[in-house]
């Protein structure tokens, strides 16, 4: 089945919950190789989105929800994560367009647009030990699942699995972008906090899709 506004709103609520739940984990990861604020900043951003969901006008689309997330994260998160995630949701919203429901191919296109937006803003490449290392395998897996005719839920499940593996795979990498890059070799052995938050957010999207499919 295709995913509609209910899924999009549920994704945001689940995102806020999962980021809140993992706030300390993200802070700890960031303290090890960054500046120790990622969990705090992301939690502040998603908590700021929640009350705004209630004010969405009737007839809003999944794209409207993503745009609301984008503008809220840009204006509340700060750091590098604010503009990067903000851009991701904004590009995702543009890709979703005015559609009221999104099938597997549309979801894959949305994720690809989000990833491309992050690359354009942050100029990171795969292997630099950034959130791109979770996004890139997620987009590849999503596109493969969509090409195989997968449903929107299948596409998101594939993306979430690949993002989780991608985040885990950042552990041995030496950072070449962002604040962790100042550590050089010493950044190896730690998971990238941005890749980890990406994995959490995509898992929330997949869980929301499963819930929608089960409903």
């Amino acid at each position: 089945m295709a995913l509609d506004i209910t899924w999009a709103v549920d994704w945001v609520r689940r995102s806020a919950a999962v980021i809140s739940e993992h706030r300390v984990e993200l802070l700890t990861l960031d303290r090890e190789i960054g500046d120790g604020d990622h969990g705090e900043n992301m939690d502040r951003g998603f908590q700021a989105v929640l009350p705004k969901l209630d004010d969405l006008p009737a007839g809003s689309t999944p794209g409207d929800v993503l745009k609301l997330v984008a503008t809220t994260l840009i204006s509340t998160v700060g750091g590098a994560a604010g503009p990067l995630y903000g851009t991701a949701y904004l590009k995702g919203a543009v890709a979703a367009g005015p559609a009221t429901s999104l099938d597997g191919a549309a979801i894959a296109a949305l994720l690809a647009a989000a990833r491309d937006g992050i690359v354009t803003r942050g100029k990171a490449e795969p292997g630099d030990k950034t959130m791109i290392d979770a996004w890139t395998p997620a987009v590849d897996a999503a596109e493969a699942a969509a090409n195989d005719g997968g449903s929107a839920a299948d596409v998101l499940a594939a993306a979430a699995d690949a993002a989780r593996s991608g985040a885990e795979a950042t552990e041995p990498l030496v950072a070449r972008k962002g604040r962790a890059s100042y550590l050089g070799e010493r950044s190896a052995g730690h998971r990238d906090p941005g890749a980890q938050s990406t994995a959490l957010l995509l898992q929330a999207a997949a869980d929301a899709a499963n819930a929608a499919a089960g409903a």
Binding site: D35, G36, D37, E40, N41, G78, A80, K177, R179, Y182
Partner: protein, 348 residues
């Protein structure tokens, strides 16, 4: 190892002692206090949070805006006033401000001659200031940005986010501010800011970590006898961890890479800036200055101007940075020009 031991009075199991109310309100409450203390110099807006020179906007004068994470006080709000910044945008502790307050500050100081953003080279600061500059341009304000990157501790910019903007930023803000005050155009102010940035080199060290209020734990850990060489202004690492050494040896470790990098040569006139990271007393900073001056003299480098004190800090971190700026006559005149801010004031 374990970090808390390195924090002196904060023993295992005790909570960190800070003079705060709610960790989430630290910046708001501190900036509000700054506004009350310096009402003759600045106006403070709390939503979105920014600090503006009391007489801004000044018609026909280039506006200068800087900003970044809080926790580096007096940077940047302490430099708002006559002859320096027109506005400062404090983010959460160690977190870049978002584009909204940067845009609000930019609009508040636009006197029709354009606005210069002075941005320290940290990924978040650059991204948020870029976004704000795009928004300001869409509203018809001409914005130029100068990104400072004076930290020599970061070696290879191809494989990192590039050299960080650290203590040299204070010197860029003072000299660019004086240029704007004397009526230079946006192009001219940006050019001299670039020139200062191109001629200043810095490097720092930390004896202890610092504790971000909302995290409640040290942002990194150091053993009792360990220090970190080449830190940025958040304590994030640079070159290496070593055992504590006497002051003269530490100064030599910082000055060596600084002098080699530009390079500074005999016959140069320089400004020597010894900066405390917040938790190191002035008595130690002057002790370090003594050795730095000795090294420069040995090399035939003339210290034409100097600055010693806590001007760009990392919360309660113990440590210091050294910056050397190669001066020309125009830079000296602009450095000497009157300035009236909370943290720097002379000549007026």
């Amino acid at each position: 190892m374990h970090g808390r031991a390195a924090c002196g009075s904060h023993g295992e199991g005790t909570s960190v002692k800070k003079i705060i109310n709610d960790p989430k309100r630290v910046v708001d409450e501190s900036v509000a206090g700054f506004g009350l203390a310096h009402a003759d110099l600045v106006r403070v807006a709390l939503d979105p949070i920014h600090v503006v020179r009391a007489d801004a906007p000044i018609a026909g004068k280039v506006g200068i805006v800087s900003g970044g994470g809080s926790g580096h006080e007096p940077l940047h709000a302490g430099y708002v006033g006559f002859g320096m910044l027109d506005a400062a945008v404090p983010g959460a502790v160690f977190t870049s401000p978002t584009p909204d307050p940067i845009l609000a500050a930019t609009k508040a100081v636009d006197g029709g001659a354009g606005v210069l953003h002075i941005v320290k080279n940290y990924t978040g600061d650059v991204l948020n200031f870029e976004t704000a500059a795009d928004l300001a341009a869409a509203e018809g304000i001409e914005v130029r940005a100068v990104v400072t990157n004076d930290d020599v501790a970061v070696k290879d910019s191809l494989y990192t986010a590039g050299r960080r903007g650290v203590a040299g930023t204070v010197l860029v803000e003072k000299i660019a501010g004086a240029a704007a005050e004397r009526g230079d155009s946006l192009e001219e102010v940006a050019t001299i800011a670039e020139r200062v940035n191109a001629n200043v080199r810095s490097m720092g060290l930390a004896l202890t970590p610092c504790i971000v209020p909302h995290a409640g734990e040290p942002s990194f850990t150091l053993a009792e006898d360990e220090i970190e060489i080449g830190i940025g202004i958040h304590g994030e690492p640079g070159r290496e961890r070593i055992k504590l050494e006497p002051a003269d040896a530490l100064v030599d470790r910082l000055l060596g890479p600084i002098l080699e990098d530009l390079p500074f040569e005999g016959g140069d006139d320089v400004l020597l800036f010894v900066n405390g990271m917040g938790g190191t007393p002035l008595v130690e900073l002057y002790l370090a200055y003594r050795r730095a001056a000795e090294v420069l003299e040995e090399r035939g480098i003339t210290i034409a101007r100097s600055l010693v004190g806590n001007f760009i800090t990392a919360l309660e971190m113990q440590g210091m940075s050294i910056s050397v700026l190669r001066l020309d006559d125009e830079m000296i005149a602009l450095w000497d020009a009157p300035v009236q801010t909370a943290a720097l004031r002379w000549g007026r």
